[in-house]
């Protein structure tokens, strides 16, 4: 077996707790990476996937140590190697591509210089050859005009370009094995699809083996030949990627695939209850036992071994996998959401524009905003009571900006925000009265940041109750417990600090805090994007449930089209702070659509190896919206001529009541997109 390049044998990595117990992060992992193969390692945060990938490079994080086992590369154990020998392997034989290339690149050195450094270290080329090699590498990762890119600094590149540079640097040493730690997680949907396509191309072109670590089954599905599913430090399922995604025979993978919202299916996916056990808590039995739908007494007392099934070419750690062998993954059930919106309008944005431009002294003195080309312009949206409307777009599309103005955190330049048909809301907090503030509440993306780390859950939820309703003592306590129960948390959570909660629990506390104010409108800013997939489905279901109970209106901001599809009644697509398309979510996800919506839909990664992303437009990033004409003219693949550059396109209605802002007549759009 010479085609195995990395052999992980009985690897256990852990740390010692204060009491002296050994706590395992990785439990007895064995796997092989073959030459030219791309292996995807998937798991929730805390499953040990990154620790495994780092161990494959011979690196164990500070504070952890190898308890037993080895990582063999070219038949030498990396974990026992001296650092001098490791230096020869790292970069030359095994290279790593980090999650956030923006942070991994040195900010004050030019791109070309940084690649040259890698070349000097890992190759024996002379200066002339290196010069040639740099542009070769930049060409290979498909960066436009390599000569000019090489002279730029990292901050002058977009996120996608930085990630490409990181790939080029990793390729500089012509490694046999590439380790990728969540390489596309921080990127926009369209950029992500492009980077994955590049990685696929490089894997084929150079024959490099890749280990792709991610929490995103969609991304893993696009690149990997083989998938390793990790749960609580163990491999629970390992096999060919197609089989695992089409017919997952481990209950965890089964549930995980079910809890991912799909573009093709409206409605909320089923959620998996519970969360992954903390390292060191499970003593006996299967680690997935308490979340499993297929478990029995045997699972509670005995932990299953990883079993190799020859006919399926798959390893599985489960006693009851046979129950799943015959069940196909396609039987996904979703909880269809009922559109309960009423005709009554609750919030109306008319002609809203927002500017981030630095104001001149004169304007500052007169306290006015002047900007001919504001970041957000001409936003007209009618929001009905009880509706969930989603604002969708890539980063920089102005979706969060609009949310801030509705919340009163950012002054608008022009336009009106009207509540309940007759009350004008100022976009300045100071001019709103307490009741105006109460009716609109915010839920943030990252619960780590939105909950004060020095407050207990009780104190956090008490804030709005005290502020708006002046509750005290017993009544306050009762209300807090009520709210906690509504978000499915028990009474005993009151005395905990945020750091003692899991991500999903924290987000539930944030939801409870928002509902404490009894608001009419809740603004959700990417509320699920910091959560694990199985938790995401649970939070979405909870939000939907609460909405049905209270009749709240949601304004939901997200970059994830599948999540938006699952929860929203209506969708507004934004590009560069201008609306492109508004309509009922069922229709926005059908063609004909605005060329930008088409790009977004094409770039969505589904956890299905048969559905490949369609890359319609270039993934260039535009700094500012164009002064004249259509906002999407810079990237549009369907440009019809000068008219796109000169005139703002008109709103056109499709048959189903979907409004599209494009110069191309609806009928032609329909013809071209089908």
């Amino acid at each position: 077996m010479t085609d195995i390049i990395q052999k992980v044998k009985n690897l256990s990595i852990g740390f010692r707790s204060k009491k002296g117990e050994e706590i395992l992060i990785l439990k007895n992992i064995s796997t092989n990476i073959k030459k030219g193969e791309t292996v995807g390692i998937v798991g929730e945060s805390g499953s040990g996937k990154s620790t495994l990938a780092l161990a494959m490079m011979g690196y164990v994080k500070h504070g952890l140590y190898t308890i037993e086992g080895e990582c063999q590369f070219n038949s030498s154990n990396l974990l026992k190697m001296k650092s001098k020998d490791l230096e020869k392997i790292r970069g030359r034989k095994i290279a790593m591509i980090p999650q956030n290339a923006g942070q991994a690149l040195t900010p004050n050195l030019k791109i070309g210089y940084q690649i040259d450094e890698a070349l000097q270290l890992h190759s024996d080329l002379n200066e002339k050859e290196r010069e040639k090699k740099i542009s070769e590498l930049l060409n290979k990762v498909r960066l436009p005009s390599p000569e000019t890119i090489a002279l730029r600094y990292p901050h002058e590149l977009s996120g996608g370009q930085q990630q490409r540079v990181a790939v080029a640097m990793a390729l500089a040493g012509t490694p046999d094995l590439l380790l990728l730690d969540e390489p596309t997680t921080g990127l926009d949907v369209t950029t992500q699809a492009h980077v994955l396509e590049l990685l696929n191309f490089i894997a084929k072109d150079t024959g490099t083996s890749m280990v792709y670590v991610s929490h995103d089954l969609g991304a893993i599905a696009q690149v990997s030949d083989r998938i390793i599913v990790m749960y609580s430090g163990e491999i629970v399922l390992e096999g060919p990627s197609r089989d695992i995604l089409k017919r997952p025979i481990h209950p965890y993978t089964h549930g995980l695939l079910k809890s991912i919202p799909k573009l093709s299916l409206a409605g909320l996916p089923e959620s998996m209850p519970g969360s992954q056990p903390q390292p060191g808590t499970i003593q006996s039995g299967c680690s997935f036992f308490d979340r499993c739908n297929f478990s029995d007494e045997n699972c509670k007392n005995n932990s299953p071994k990883l079993e190799f099934l020859k006919d399926l070419n798959t390893s599985v750690r489960c006693f009851n996998y046979e129950k799943l062998v015959n069940e196909s993954q396609a039987s996904q059930t979703v909880n269809k959401i009922k559109n309960k919106s009423q005709d009554q309008e609750i919030l109306n944005l008319s002609e809203v524009s927002i500017s981030y431009a630095k104001q001149k002294l004169l304007d500052q003195i007169f306290n006015r905003i002047s900007d001919d080309n504001p970041t957000v312009k001409d936003i007209n949206i009618n929001i009905k009571k009880g509706e969930t409307i989603a604002l969708v777009g890539e980063s920089g599309s102005g979706k969060s900006t609009i949310l801030k103005s509705i919340a009163g955190l950012l002054r608008t330049k022009d336009g009106l925000i009207r509540f309940d048909e007759n009350r004008n809301l100022s976009s300045d907090l100071k001019e709103r009265d307490p009741n105006d503030l109460r009716i609109i509440q915010l839920i943030f993306q990252n619960p780590d940041e939105s909950l004060n780390p020095n407050h207990t859950v009780e104190e956090i939820i008490a804030q709005p109750l005290k502020l708006y309703f002046g509750l005290k003592g017993e009544e306050l306590k009762k209300n807090i417990i009520d709210l906690l129960q509504k978000v499915r948390l028990g009474e005993f959570y009151t005395s905990r600090y945020p750091r003692q909660l899991s991500g999903g629990e924290k987000q539930r506390v944030a939801v409870a805090r928002a509902f404490a104010a009894k608001p009419d409108i809740i603004l959700c800013d990417e509320v699920t994007s910091a959560l694990d997939v199985s938790v995401q489905a649970a939070v979405l279901n909870l939000l939907q449930q609460l909405k049905e109970d209270f009749g709240t209106t949601y304004i939901f901001v997200s970059h994830d089209l599948a999540v938006v599809r699952a929860i929203s009644d209506r969708v507004a697509v934004l590009y560069q702070g201008r609306l492109c398309e508004v309509g009922p979510s069922n229709d926005v996800y059908k063609f004909p659509s605005h060329p930008y919506t088409e790009v977004l839909l094409g770039a969505v990664l589904e956890p299905d190896p048969d559905i490949k992303p369609k890359l319609v437009a270039e993934d260039i990033v535009e700094e500012r919206p164009p002064e004249k004409g259509c906002s999407f003219q810079g990237r549009c693949s369907r440009i019809v001529g000068d008219i796109c550059k000169k005139e703002i396109p008109p709103w056109q209605l499709t048959d189903s009541g979907n409004a599209i802002r494009c110069h191309i007549p609806i009928k032609e759009l329909q013809k071209e997109q089908f």
């Binding site: 903390q278 919340a407 907090l429 503030l437 915010l442 939105s450 804030q463 502020l467 005395s495 805090r513």
Partner: protein, 297 residues
């Protein structure tokens, strides 16, 4: 509910938290040494008037500049006073004045820094430039001016020292506030419509308190040195009250043949400063450790 036991952490009383911090501080050697020195000095300051073997102001020309002996452990100074008595009494004024001075510095510096960090904009600009302007004045010159105008009484020294040592705390408190101000929980409190006071009290202070307290403890030792310098120059404690700075100043001319009269106060002063510094250091580490290890992994 197996996880419950791991997560269990009841809300503790302030006293319990404080004693836990002190235990953590004492668990590392440097912290233990620092704490012992500091506690020793504080106890000494309280009991020294009762245990002093001689009268600190009794002048006896016949006993001038005696070398250390069984009767006069640290010898006598140029006026025949017992150096041991004067040394153990010499820290009392300095400790009291600088302790209250640091409190004042912490209070005004911390609050102003947090306020500037929160409101930002023009108010922040103006206030910080004024603070910068004060930072550029050599404090000892300004202190000399104040003391010569208003006298060296405690009521003058405490607020004056508190003012000059608080300027630095403004910067630290402002920086610490900037770290938390952009976090969403502050944005969320703003969006709910809490007043600035409520945001400072509920959201910011619990998160910047540690940084400011540690800075305050460090300032205490600097202030002690500063106060002793004033006494050394003759603008701090007035004779015949025993004070280390004053004693060093008086005895330094005779150092070549009566070294004992100068060494004892130097040891007293420097040990106290080292003690405070080590304690402040251990305090910072204890607070930091509290954050990282108490969270379940």
């Amino acid at each position: 509910m197996k996880l419950d036991n791991i997560y269990k952490e009841e809300k503790k009383s302030t006293f319990a938290k404080l004693s836990e911090i002190i235990i953590t501080m004492a668990s590392r050697p440097s912290g233990l040494i620092g704490l012992s020195i500091l506690v020793f000095h504080i106890i000494l300051a309280f009991i020294s008037p009762y245990i002093a073997p001689h009268d600190f102001k009794a002048i006896d020309p016949t006993l001038m500049l005696q070398a250390p002996s069984a009767e006069y452990w640290f010898g006598t100074d140029d006026l025949g006073r017992d150096v041991f008595t004067r040394t153990i009494l010499g820290g009392r004024t300095a400790l009291t004045i600088t302790f209250f001075g640091s409190l004042i510095a912490l209070l005004w510096g911390g609050l102003l820094g947090i306020f500037c960090g929160l409101v930002g904009g023009k108010i922040d600009d103006v206030v910080m430039r004024i603070v910068d302007a004060f930072l550029s004045i050599p404090w000892i010159l300004a202190m000399l001016l104040i003391v010569s105008l208003l006298g060296t009484s405690t009521e003058v020294l405490i607020p004056a020292l508190g003012f000059f040592y608080g300027k630095g705390i403004v910067r630290v408190a402002r920086a610490a506030t900037h770290d938390v101000i952009a976090k969403d929980f502050i944005v969320s409190a703003r969006a709910r419509g809490h007043s600035n006071f409520s945001i400072i009290w509920n959201e910011i202070i619990p998160n910047v308190r540690d940084a400011i307290l540690v800075e305050g403890a460090m300032r205490w030792s600097w202030m002690l040195l500063g106060f002793s310098s004033l006494s050394f120059l003759g603008f701090g404690v007035s004779p015949p009250t025993p004070d280390w700075g004053l004693m060093i100043s008086n005895a330094r001319g005779l150092m070549s043949f009566a070294y004992w009269a100068v060494i004892a106060p130097i040891v007293g002063l420097s040990s106290l400063i080292i003690g405070i510094n080590l304690t402040a250091d251990a305090f910072a580490k204890a607070l930091g450790i509290d954050r990282s290890t108490k969270a379940p992994v």
